[in-house]
Each structure stands twice: as structure tokens, then as C-alpha cells.
Amino acid sequence: MDLNETFSKIYDVLGQSGAFSDDLFQEEIYTNIGIAGIVISLLLVTTFYFIINRPSFSKSKHWLIILFVNFIIAFVIGFIVPLNVFKSIGLEYETIQYILFGLKVAVVATLYFIIWTYCLKWWKSNAQGTPKLFLGKF
């Protein structure tokens, strides 16, 4: 199974959009957007824990701010990238299709962000342990 297929299955869990999804698959946009989502989430999580790394910006509310930034960036990518690619090859879809796909990309990027958070939040930093979304240390 190649990356395009893997990512398409991840995004399609949140709903298939018929011809729009087929064209995304055909143009291998899933691969680019999937990798971009993972990398950007990782960069933002790293920025929060190890670059900003300040006691005054280390609480759960600050983590949520970065999470929101991640959501917005992912949404913009999920909206703009298919729009540009499809326009360049003469495909036309309604704006709502792009918005729905942008939202799917943003939701998946949020999951990536949480996964990266739980990989990195145990390391030494001024935000170590933030956030606690579940019981105890988790």
C-alpha cells in the first residue's frame, strides 16, 4: 500500500466525497497533504515544548492556542492545495467541497498534534507534562 492510498483511507474515514475524493487520489494530493499535516504538527508541537519553552507560556490554555494554530494552518492547506491543483488542470468543484476537505485535513492534523504531544510532552521542558487530557499524568 503506497502513501497516497494510506492517507486517502485516513481522510476518507471522516467521509468520502465521491468524484472530488477520486480526483484527489488521482492527482496524489493525499500524499502531499498527509505528509504536510504530520510535519507541521510536529513542528508546532516542538515549537511549543522546546522553542517557546517558557514558564509563562506552558499551561493547557497555551497548548490549546498552538493546537488552534495547527488546525487553521491545516485547514488552509487542505483548502488551497486542491483548489490550485484542480484549477491548473481545469477541474471545477463547488467551494463547499474544498471547505469540507479543509476541515477533514484540520481534524486529522489535530489528531497528529495530539499524538506528537503525547510523544514529546514527557521530555524536559518548561511545559513538561502539559496538557493533561486524561487521568493522572495523561
Binding site: R54, P55, S56, S58, K59, K124, S125, N126, A127, Q128, G129, K137
Partner: protein
């Protein structure tokens, strides 16, 4: 561990031991178990009782964190004589405290103490010759009010007491003795030569103690450093301080230094520019802490750090007695830079790290518990911890420390190493200090803050402090309990902070 018995005689003795306690809390260390014994007839004395409370708080804190190697504060053990006796299983049951209770002086006049009314007429006349009417009517429960002739008689009972016997029994050859007294008052001026003479005799209630006779003994004799307000109704008159000092020094030159009975004698004093309220004793006798008392405490550290070989005694005679004085650079308001290296090395780092520790606890801790240093380890520093005895005792101690620091700054000569402003109550008593700035690394006077000019986003002030707490907490990991972890991370973080930003 060898013991250093410190006899604090009179009000000056209490106040010097208070300064010593503050030094030990801040991380100054000796290789001795400190055993303070306070000898003061004025049982209600404000300074005495504050010192006793402080010593007890110190012990409580020390016990909680004893043995934890990553802690620097409250490291030096302080013991009571009774706990030493208990450890050595000597069996004697003596007072469990720091103060020796003088018998027969509670609510007694001096004439009752010497049974004046039962003397025959010849002895009555002799007593009248030696003691004035004021002396004979003196209320002993508030001290000897500057009369060493009364003090020497009353304090003689100490050397015949069970406590002195217990002290002699517990004294080991590797131990040392230090005596603190003022020379211009009553209790200290009388008590010091008396105590020294009795130790050097090596005889206590008929029993011979050779190692006591050859003990290593140091002392500080504090010369006038304050005046009291003129009050015709008071028996204390500071006009007599210099005369009394001269007379006592003359006596010492024959009976202490003249016969080499002491191994190290420290002299200290200052031109007395400050005037205290004239109170003869009791709860109201609470004077602001003074730099002379802190410098006197340094003499104890100096003495404790002196090599054994420089303090040898043979047959009750010191073989190579040392006489030392203390000085600072010429300034009416001392900062660390006005001290010479010996004092600066002891005070600067230790007082500064403790100052920042104290400041953070006072200003920030309660609202800054949601950080890794507090919540990410098995022993959490949380609100429950803040209500436990350890933290409450530490809070009490720290408040006394802040008052002490502020009093030192208000007195003459002023010792003001930190830019602090006194907070006073209606009676003009200092109850705390304030700093009036968030730039906390600008608070050490005459020592500029080291800034990271290349990085405008560099962490600073309390944020930098918390960041260092987090780093220290990660480096130390889990500790046996929360008190130890708490002291460990503050010891380490204040050390790295002060080294990075100031020293």
C-alpha cells in the same frame, strides 16, 4: 560528629546566636554539631524568646531534610544539650531547651537572693560597701541591668548546676567551646570570665575533667555598639558603657589574655551612633538586629574553621592564643562590596541565594504550582504541602529572616545588601519588607545584573526563576519525600540563578 558548645550570655549572646542561625539556614556550614546554651536571667526578654523560637524552627526544618545531599539550606545540625545527653545515654535528665534557667531569681530582688536580711550587721555593712542601694533592690528577673558585680554572684550558680555538670560529662576531647558576651553590660561582662575560669579549672562538683581543662575555647567580647536613651528612672545609662568596657578590658588583660586562658579571642565594636529605647528588660526589650551581631556570628564560623593545631592547650594554658578584630571598608551603609574577602566569601553567596529562595516563597510560590517542578514528580508540591508543618515552620522562619534582614538595614551602621523597603506596624516595628519591582535581579546592591544582550527574548526575573526550578527538578528527579525534594530544587536553582545573573 564533634560538637561546638556555644554559650550565649545575656541579650547580646541571644542576638548573635540568632544571626548565626540565619547564617546556618542560608547554607553556611561548620564541621560541628552546634549546641547553643543561652544564659540569660531575663526569661521574658523579647530577643531571647525570639532566638529560642528561631532555634526550634531551625531544628524542625533540619530534621525534616537531614541527610538529603542535594539540599544546601539548614544543613548544619543544631542540638540541645539534653539531646546530646540522650544520644550519649548518659542518663542525666536536664532541661530540654536552649536556655539555662537560673534558680532563685524569679520575682526576687538581689537582696533576697543573697539573704541580706539574715546577715549579721558586719556582713550587712560589707554588702552595702560592695553593692549600692539600687543594686540591693534590683529585680533580678529582668537581668542585671549593666551591673557585673551582681551578675558575677548570681551567675556563679550556673557552674554549680546540673546543666554544667551535664555539659562537662558530654564534652569530648574533639569538641570545642565558644563564649559570646558583651563587655559593657551586666550579664555578659560578669558571665564570660566566670565561665572561662570554671571550664579551665576542669573541676565540676568535685569531679576532675582533664579534657575540659584543656578544651579549645574561643570567645567574642562585644564592645559598645549602641546607646540607650537617657532615662533618670532607669538603671541603664549608656554614658557608663565606655568606662565599664575599659574596666573590664583591664580585668581581662590580667585574667583572660594575660594568663593565656583562651585559645582565640575576637574583639568587635563600633562607634555607637544609634540609640535604642531604654528598657531594662522583659518582653519589651526587643532591639533591631545589628550588623555587629552578624559579624560576631562570623567569628564563630571563623573559629569553627580554625585548624585544631592552632588551638592547642596544655595544662589549661593556650599554647598559641589568637586575638582577632573585625573591620569593613569605610561606609555608613554596607553592601557586600564593602566587606573584605573573608566575610564576603561567607555572606555574599549564601545570603543572596537564601534571599531569592525566601522572596520566591513569599511572592510567588502559592500561585506558581502549576509547573513541572511542582506537579511532575511523585512527591508533588501542591496546596496540601503548603499546609503541612514543615512548610508552615519554614514560612515562620523565613518571615523572621526577612525581618532580621530589614532590621540590619535600618540600624546604624546599616547593612543593606539588598534593595528592600521596611514594612512597619503602628509601633514602628518591622513586620516585613517590600521590593517594589519585578526586576528581581536588580535587588542586590552594587552588583549589576548580568543580561543576555544578544537575545531580546531571553527569560528573566520570576520566569527565569521558574525555568531554573524546572531544570533543577528534572536534574534531581524524585526524592525520598516532598520536603527534601522542595529544598533540593530550591537549593540548586538559586545556586545556578545567582551564579548566572549576579556573581
Amino acid at each position: 560528629m564533634a560538637k561546638l558548645y556555644i554559650f550565649g550570655i545575656g541579650g547580646t549572646g541571644s542576638r548573635v546566636i540568632k544571626s548565626l542561625t540565619m547564617l546556618l539556614a542560608s547554607g553556611v556550614k561548620t564541621n560541628f554539631d552546634i549546641v547553643p546554651i543561652l544564659i540569660d536571667p531575663d526569661s521574658a526578654g523579647g530577643d531571647l524568646n525570639k532566638t529560642i523560637k528561631l532555634l526550634r524552627d531551625y531544628q524542625t526544618i533540619h530534621k525534616s531534610i537531614n541527610g538529603y545531599k542535594d539540599n544546601r539550606f539548614f544543613k548544619n545540625k543544631i542540638s540541645t544539650l539534653s539531646s546530646i545527653i540522650a544520644e550519649q545515654s548518659k542518663g542525666a535528665k536536664i532541661f530540654d531547651g536552649f536556655r539555662f534557667e537560673l534558680d532563685g531569681i524569679q520575682n526576687d530582688r538581689f537582696k533576697d537572693f543573697i539573704d541580706f536580711n539574715t546577715l549579721d550587721s558586719n556582713n550587712k555593712n560589707l554588702a552595702k560597701l560592695l553593692f549600692s542601694e539600687h543594686n540591693l533592690e534590683a529585680d533580678l528577673s529582668v537581668g542585671f541591668k549593666g551591673n557585673p558585680n551582681i551578675g558575677s554572684l548570681v551567675l556563679n550558680q550556673f557552674t554549680k548546676s546540673e546543666i554544667f555538670q551535664s555539659f562537662a560529662d558530654s564534652y569530648q576531647p574533639e569538641d570545642r567551646i565558644f563564649i559570646i558576651s558583651s563587655i559593657f553590660g551586666g550579664t555578659g561582662a560578669a558571665g564570660f570570665p566566670l565561665l572561662l575560669k570554671n571550664i579551665r579549672k576542669g573541676e565540676v562538683t568535685g569531679k576532675h575533667y582533664e579534657h575540659l581543662k584543656n578544651a579549645r575555647i574561643g570567645a567574642i567580647t562585644v564592645q559598645p555598639y549602641f546607646k540607650v536613651e537617657q532615662n533618670d528612672n532607669s538603671q541603664i545609662d549608656s554614658h557608663g558603657f565606655i568606662t565599664k568596657t575599659k574596666a573590664a578590658l583591664h580585668y581581662y588583660s590580667k585574667n583572660i589574655t594575660g594568663n593565656n586562658s583562651i585559645n582565640a579571642l575576637y574583639y568587635i565594636g563600633d562607634t555607637a551612633n544609634n540609640t535604642y529605647e531604654n528598657i531594662e528588660g522583659g518582653t519589651h526589650q526587643k532591639n533591631d538586629a545589628h550588623f555587629i551581631e552578624l559579624a560576631s556570628a562570623l567569628s564563630i564560623i571563623d573559629y569553627a574553621n580554625t585548624e585544631d593545631t592552632h588551638l592547642e592547650t596544655n595544662n589549661g594554658i593556650a599554647l598559641n592564643p589568637k586575638y582577632k578584630e573585625f573591620g569593613t571598608k569605610d561606609s555608613s551603609q554596607l553592601s557586600f562590596n564593602d566587606l573584605f574577602d573573608g566575610s564576603k566569601n561567607v555572606l555574599e553567596f549564601n545570603l543572596t541565594t537564601y534571599f531569592y529562595f525566601n522572596l520566591f516563597l513569599k511572592e510567588k510560590l502559592k500561585n506558581e504550582l502549576d509547573h513541572p517542578y511542582a506537579r511532575e514528580f511523585s512527591n508533588k508540591i501542591d496546596t496540601n504541602f503548603l499546609y503541612q508543618t514543615f512548610y508552615k515552620t519554614l514560612t515562620d522562619f523565613n518571615k523572621e529572616n526577612r525581618i532580621w534582614l530589614t532590621e540590619l538595614s535600618r540600624n546604624q551602621i546599616s547593612f543593606l545588601p539588598f534593595s528592600i523597603t521596611p514594612v512597619t506596624n503602628e509601633q514602628n516595628e518591622i513586620i516585613d519588607f517590600s521590593i517594589g519591582t519585578n526586576s528581581i535581579f536588580t535587588l542586590v546592591r552594587d552588583i549589576p545584573e548580568r543580561k543576555n544582550k544578544l537575545n531580546p527574548f531571553a527569560k528573566n526575573n520570576y520566569e527565569l526563576f521558574i525555568s531554573h526550578l524546572n531544570t533543577a527538578a528534572s536534574a534531581l528527579g524524585d526524592a525520598p519525600d516532598t520536603s527534601k525534594r522542595f529544598m533540593g530544587i530550591f537549593s540548586e536553582s538559586t545556586k545556578t540563578l545567582v551564579n548566572k545573573k549576579l556573581l
